[in-house]
């Protein structure tokens, strides 16, 4: 399980770099386009379209890393007041719903891809991009996210069954709650060491 989880982490990390590189390329492309328009009265044509694809692909490929880093926002005003077992339950429910929502998007996103493929549709710009190409890469990112989400869920359940609560919190809890857990552990250690001295 650890090995699978580490693989997922690495894949998610590459997704971030891929997305970031696409965004940087989009910025440079747009910069060139502006300079050409201003000084040479010419345009690359379609820089905006490509930048749009960069955002779509970058987002889909970065969702998983944001999930593993617990960057997706959860409102934890009440959550932090709950006992640990309930929090774990809510963590699992939240994770399942989040992954399920994007599984739903991926499921219907596949129809978008399939339709572009069968109709051979092209973008209405000078580029005439076959829309199936960016859409397919987008879909792969979404599918990869769902796969990594399921791995994370399995990982958390395995950890919980072993009673490793701190590790579970680190994997799927909200950030502030995890920090609390860390504090608790530190207190506990201090208390134990003090008792050891006595």
């Amino acid at each position: 399980m650890e090995a699978v989880m580490n693989g997922a982490r690495r894949a998610a990390h590459w997704g971030l770099w891929f997305g970031g590189a696409l965004i940087l390329l989009a910025a440079i492309l747009i910069g060139i386009d502006i300079v050409m328009r201003k000084f040479f009265s010419a345009s690359i044509g379609g820089a905006d379209e490509l930048a749009g694809y960069a955002l779509a692909l970058g987002t889909a490929w970065s969702l998983a890393a944001a999930l593993l880093d617990r960057a997706h926002i959860r409102i934890d005003s009440l959550y932090v007041l709950f006992p640990r077992r309930l929090r774990f339950l809510l963590d699992v429910v939240g994770l399942v719903l989040f992954v399920a929502f994007f599984a739903l998007i991926a499921r219907h996103g596949w129809n978008v891809v399939a339709q572009s493929w069968s109709s051979g549709s092209r973008s209405q710009s000078a580029l005439q991009t076959p829309t199936v190409v960016p859409q397919f890469i987008w879909f792969v990112g979404l599918a990869g996210f769902v796969a990594i989400g399921i791995v994370l869920l399995a990982h958390a359940v395995v950890l919980a069954s072993r009673g490793e609560h701190a590790a579970v919190a680190k994997a799927i809890s909200t950030r502030s709650a995890e920090e609390e857990v860390e504090d608790e552990i530190r207190d506990l250690r201090e208390r134990n060491s003090r008792e050891g001295i006595r």
Binding site: W17, L24, I30, D33, T59, A60, I75, L90, V93, L97
Partner: protein
């Protein structure tokens, strides 16, 4: 229908379901309950269309711009230059904090980035000069919120996209209120330090020679502001394109400072895409929810409900402000905007309020939400930088500035021209 929707939404969010999934499944539930058509089938098409919306590309650009600036060393130099110029007033460096935040806000589209960047360089000065820690921390948390009011602004982009309002006009409308609010923050510090001089720390002095020599350090932020905002009003670039220029300018400055490397870029990519994925996940779900809400006629129902209340426009405005102040204590700002603006903005426009002005008001309300506990992102950011003590210090230190923001809201409501004058003048 309205009550069911609210109950589901509040239930899901209160149980700490990720905001994106909460909004998304609310959409699925409403589609199942109230529509004969299979509305959920549209989710693929809507997600794709939202994901490659060119207006939204500005979001990762601004996040990347911030990430590069954070690592390029310009914030530290800018702060040190401002320190030489400003601290003669009672309150000393705390005015430099606010000025640095306002200046950095002119290059940054995010309040978190502003508070984090200025906070990182300012924090070391507290003990060195014997300031009241609480008020000092408050200036950073509150000053940082200027990031979304002084253009560029990610929240204004989101408002513009959600309500079909011109983003360049929103940017212009934010400038004067942003400067006034920064001035009011400084005034707040001044009042506190005149009443209780021990809060103000030791005065620092600088010679004119030092001051003049530090001036070039103020150039990089001005260059980026000109690249981003100047290029829009010169007619060279659209709002999104100008953000791309900002990224390029930031990279050039980082290279000039010899901070540009592959390692640095990869770190910047990581921060950028993590934030972008988080924001886009919420936006995708919100677009789907908005589609469902409009399709099942919920928007009309809310509109009828508000109309039947027969409120005067002032009463409506007060109700909306109170609503956001309360909600702002518990919700993160982007989620709050995405969940409420598509419904509330049209009601306000129908009641005769200007959509640009209301956009500025919403942004100031979001700024307030960022420093009101228990959920106030800038409070967390400042406490995170500080790495010691309790967050209560930051909360108490920021509290006077919440009052300042309320004053600003009243001022802006009495004189809407403060926001609208600049965009109207530019249009002529």
């Amino acid at each position: 229908m309205l009550l069911t929707a609210l109950a589901i939404l509040i239930g899901l969010l209160a149980l700490a379901v990720p905001v994106s999934a909460g909004l998304g499944f609310l959409g699925v539930a409403l589609a199942e309950l109230y529509s004969k058509l299979p509305l959920t089938l549209a989710i693929g098409e809507i997600s794709w269309a939202t994901s490659n919306n060119f207006l939204l590309v500005a979001i990762p650009f601004f996040v990347l711009l911030g990430e590069v600036l954070l690592r390029s060393g310009i914030a530290g130099r800018m702060y040190n230059a401002l320190v030489l110029w400003i601290p003669w007033m009672p309150g000393g460096l705390m005015h430099a904090n606010i000025a640095a935040c306002a200046m950095f806000a002119a290059t940054s589209g995010s309040s978190v980035a502003t508070a984090a960047t200025i906070g990182t360089v300012a924090m070391e000065e507290i003990e060195k000069h014997g300031y009241s820690e609480r008020l000092f921390l408050g200036t950073i948390a509150a000053g940082g919120t200027l990031g979304i009011l002084i253009p560029p602004s990610i929240n204004m982009i989101v408002y513009g996209v959600l309500t079909d309002t011109s983003i360049p006009k929103l940017y212009l409308a934010g400038i004067v209120p942003g400067l006034i609010l920064a001035g009011l923050f400084s005034l707040t510090v001044l009042v506190f330090c005149l009443a209780r001089p021990e809060l103000g720390g030791k005065r620092t002095t600088a010679s004119w020679d030092q001051r003049i020599r530090a001036l070039p350090d103020l150039i990089p932020p001005i260059v980026i502001f000109l690249a981003v905002i100047g290029s829009i009003y010169a007619g060279w670039a659209t709002a999104t394109e100008s953000a791309a220029l900002g990224v390029i300018a930031a990279l050039a400055i980082a290279a000039w400072n010899r901070r540009l490397s592959v390692r640095m870029l990869l770190h910047a990519f990581e921060g950028t895409m993590r934030t972008t994925a988080m924001i886009m996940a919420i936006l995708i779900a919100a677009y789907f929810l908005n589609f469902v809400i409009a399709s099942i006629g919920l928007t009309n129902q809310v509109n009828r409900f508000i109309t039947e209340l027969n409120l005067k426009s002032t009463q409506l405005l007060v109700a909306v402000i109170v609503f956001y102040l309360i909600l702002g204590c518990f919700m993160e700002t982007l989620s709050m905007m995405v969940a409420t603006v598509p419904i509330i903005a049209p009601i306000m426009v129908k009641a005769g309020f200007d959509p640009i002005w209301f956009g500025v008001l919403i942004v100031i309300l979001m700024e307030t939400a960022m420093i009101t506990p228990p959920v106030g992102i800038n409070l967390y950011v400042v406490q995170g930088l500080r790495k010691r003590g309790r967050i209560d210090d930051v909360i108490i230190g920021a509290a006077p500035f919440v009052v300042t923001m309320l004053v600003m809201i009243v001022v802006l409501s009495i004189w809407p021209a403060l926001a609208l004058w600049l965009p109207q003048t530019a249009a002529n």
